[in-house]
């Protein structure tokens, strides 16, 4: 794949075209800055003033991309997400493969939950995980309950086959779960 590109690169005029032809291999493992992502970007409830805001473009970028989801699945293990949430069935932390969402089910809300932490035990990972990787983890978390396109979702598990891979997880219709921790919901 790379050798035709290299040859064309020797011709100055064709260089730009040739590089463009290689874009389908572009993975941007570090990612480009994609704008403001702090607490101001998320909504905790479903009520808003006026018209709804357009969906965050990062949803398309991360949730529809097999590479990002596969990276997210690996990072989910490496950053010890799985030691609290298991393979989605939950443990110390709540399950991620079902339809209940305490702090919001959108990509932005999951991103915010990872960065900010939550009061009943979710640790804050602020400044501990590169931002792109947090988006990848958040997108993978969405795939655990079947929210991402089947074609992009991970198709196999790396370890003890604890449950069907995300590709074969039926889509759960996300529902709100009241915040307030164990006293209200038995959830963090």
């Amino acid at each position: 794949m790379s050798s035709p590109c290299r040859r064309s690169a020797s011709l100055a005029v064709l260089a730009v075209l040739a590089l463009a032809a290689c874009d389908r291999e572009e993975r941007e493992p570090r990612g480009a800055p994609v704008g403001e992502s702090g607490p101001g970007a998320i909504a905790q409830g479903t009520l808003y003033a006026g018209e709804p805001s357009p969906p965050d473009p990062r949803r398309q970028e991360y949730e529809g991309n097999a590479y990002h989801l596969a990276q997210g699945k690996q990072l989910y293990v490496w950053f010890n997400c799985g030691t609290c949430h298991a393979n989605g069935g939950g443990d110390i932390g709540p399950p991620l493969m079902d339809d209940s969402w305490i702090y919001g089910d959108s990509l932005e809300n999951i991103f915010a939950t990872i960065v900010q932490g939550r009061p009943n035990g979710m640790p804050s990972f602020r400044n501990k995980i590169p931002e792109t990787q947090i988006w990848e983890i958040a997108a993978y978390v969405r795939s655990m309950s079947g929210q991402t396109p089947t074609a992009a979702s991970p198709g196999r598990n790396d370890s003890l086959n604890a449950k069907p891979a995300e590709q074969r997880t039926p889509k759960a219709e996300p529902k709100q779960s009241t915040p307030g921790g164990p006293q209200v919901e038995g959830r963090q």
């Binding site: 293990v77 393979n87 399950p95 501990k128 003890l160 449950k163």
Partner: protein
């Protein structure tokens, strides 16, 4: 392979060591005497219940006999009380004077109930307000296993790592001492024990790469008198001139450093979240040390001292007297923190001062409590991961084929990570001479993975799924004869047993099931004589006491949870076999049988009018 043969061989060795040459033949003719609790550690029953284990010998036996095999069929609810917290209720209620004290799981509220009034109204409530974030570093539900009473004060631990003294009459806080750091993964869930004016407290967090310790606080001031770590150099472990272990394998300088890869001991576990006993005559406390971290054994080659074993220490100085490592280089998360019952019993014809431990790995250990010598170790449950204990060396023989390996699923390992039994304590009746062991019958598949240490997050490195063992029943109550070294009888239960047992002079054994049944069995036969369905599953510790009216009462907290009940309290998803470290797979149907709760039930016979 042949457990029986290993045991017999071991017994012969023990015999040879223990007895003068002439004794054996004579001893075998004599009728075996019964086991009795250590006298100095089990004073006559005053009708109170001032520590979770009832007494320093940890018998959990009541001498009350108004409720007995003849009358128990009439047992009925006297009063109830809602704790207001619907997480796993593992605590034992305490009764001192005319007051009952109960502590809840996080947020660890402490209630005092006035037993002189009808319905036992609230006398006071103490709310310690622990940090909410502590819930995120509690491996197995936000439990608390009880409080301790001494000298007009109630001593309690909070999930976020504090020990607090509360005035028993008023509920006023006297002192509080911060001992644990949740940002390192430290919590406290154990019940403290007060010995000679010192409050003994240990940490939890063996699944978070903490460094385990046991500390003694001055009961008057809350100041730390001594602190013994269970990993690291001898000076930290409080190993000095007094240390005289029985086995050579426990001897050597700084083994808490040299039996680990470099610096791994700093995050090596060995916590003290279980039970402590005390022998006033020998003036020694006994406590276990929990599993090494991470679970993945290939990341910590070596014996991993001083995890997975039993310490005897001087209560005044904390200095170690002896240590026996039950599970050197633990392979399966087998914390050695279970109850330690101090019994005097005949071993090969000679009365020995022993400590009896139904261990997580499936054996009942009987150790000489003065020296740490293993006198016997017999399986009480289904085991295929080890073949027995060599009584000459104290070594546990492991089965190589069942050892966890990276990149491989090792199947059908029995017992599981929570073991044949976990923390929930046995009781001992001197009338029957039997130990009533609540336990489990589960096996597991295990795949090791590389664990990453990130402070404040779990440090495990294993994926596990559990399932019912041979026979399909998941729980069992076994009456164990420590003299004959055999089961007298046993009763099967559908769900794993996660409650303690209580035995009484009425020749009854009380325990609860995860479906919510509270049961009374005939202590001699195991026949079920009475049962009552409580509101939620029972994982607590039943007690018996004499009320201000002179009648006998039996009390237990109902409220499912703990590691075994995580599927209910966390509303976990059983489609993932590894949920709750694999326990959910074994109890996937529990959500169909019970719901969360948190209620005290107190039972008595109908009052005579």
């Amino acid at each position: 392979m042949d457990v029986t043969r290993v045991r017999r061989t071991g017994a012969v060795f023990a015999l040879a060591l223990a007895l003068p040459a002439a004794a054996p033949a004579h001893a075998q003719d004599a009728a075996p005497a019964k086991a009795v609790p250590a006298a100095s550690a089990s004073p006559p029953d005053d009708g109170e219940w001032a520590m979770p284990a009832k007494n320093y010998a940890s018998t959990r036996y009541s001498e009350l006999d108004e409720i007995n095999t003849g009358t128990v069929r009439d047992l009925q609810v006297a009063f109830t009380f809602s704790t207001g917290v619907d997480r796993g209720q593992e605590a034992a209620p305490l009764v001192v004077g005319n007051t009952m004290y109960i502590v809840t799981p996080y947020p660890n509220r402490l209630f005092a109930l006035d037993l002189t009034q009808p319905g036992a109204p609230l006398k006071w409530t103490f709310d310690p307000k622990p940090a909410a974030s502590a819930q995120g570093v509690a491996c197995c539900d936000y439990v608390n296993r009880g409080v301790a009473f001494a000298d007009g004060r109630v001593f309690m631990n909070t999930l976020d790592g504090q020990t607090i003294a509360v005035e028993a009459g008023t509920g006023r806080e006297v002192w509080r001492t911060k001992l644990g750091d949740i940002n390192k993964g430290e919590t406290i869930t154990m019940a403290p024990l007060v010995v000679k004016g010192k409050v003994l407290v240990g940490n939890s967090g063996g699944e978070f790469g903490v460094r385990g310790w046991l500390t003694a606080l001055d009961a008057g001031t809350g100041k730390i008198v001594w602190k013994a770590y269970n990993t690291g150099p001898d000076s930290d472990v409080l190993i000095g001139a007094d240390y005289k272990p029985f086995y050579d394998k426990e001897k050597g300088k700084d083994l808490g450093v040299t039996t680990w890869p470099p610096n791994a001991w700093e995050i090596g576990g060995g916590t003290v979240w279980g039970w402590i006993s005390y022998d006033p005559e020998l003036d020694l406390i006994y406590h276990g040390t929990a599993n090494p971290g991470p679970w993945n054994p290939e990341q910590r080659p070596g014996d991993n001292k001083w995890t997975g074993g039993i310490f005897a220490r001087n209560p005044d100085s904390g200095q170690a007297r002896w240590f026996y490592q039950v599970v050197p280089h633990d392979l399966y998360d087998h914390d050695a923190i279970n109850e330690l019952i101090l019994l005097d019993l005949p071993v090969n014809g000679t009365m020995r001062k022993t400590v009896v431990r139904p261990e997580r790995n499936g054996y009942v250990y009987v150790l000489d409590r003065a020296t740490g010598e293993v006198l016997s170790a017999d399986p009480y449950a289904n085991i295929n991961s080890s073949t027995g204990v060599d009584l000459k060396t104290g070594e546990l023989a492991m089965v190589e084929a069942k050892a966890p390996k990276m990149g491989k699923v090792v199947r059908d390992i029995c017992p599981t990570a929570p073991g044949s039994k976990d923390w929930n304590p046995s009781s001992f009746s001197p009338r029957t001479g039997l130990l009533y062991i609540p336990h489990m019958n589960l096996c597991m598949d295990w795949q090791s993975a590389e664990a990453n240490y990130i402070a404040g997050t779990p440090y495990i490195g294993a994926e596990v799924r559990m399932f019912a063992g041979p026979g399909g029943h998941r729980g069992e109550l076994s009456a164990w004869d420590p003299v004959k070294r055999a089961k007298a009888w046993s009763v099967k239960e559908d769900f794993p047993l996660w409650s303690g047992t209580l035995s009484t002079a009425g020749d009854l054994v009380f325990y609860g099931t995860m479906e919510g049944w509270f049961k009374a069995l005939d202590a001699r036969t195991g026949e079920e004589l009475w049962r009552f369905k409580t509101g939620s599953g029972i994982i607590g510790q039943p007690i018996a006491y004499r009320g201000p009216d002179g009648r006998e009462y039996v009390a237990v907290l109902s409220g499912v949870g703990g590691w075994a009940g995580a599927v209910v309290v966390g509303n976990l998803d059983p489609r993932d076999a590894t949920a709750a470290k694999g326990f959910v797979n074994a109890v996937a149907d529990l959500k169909d049988k019970t719901t969360k709760g948190g209620t005290l039930y107190v039972f008595a016979l109908p009052s005579k009018r």
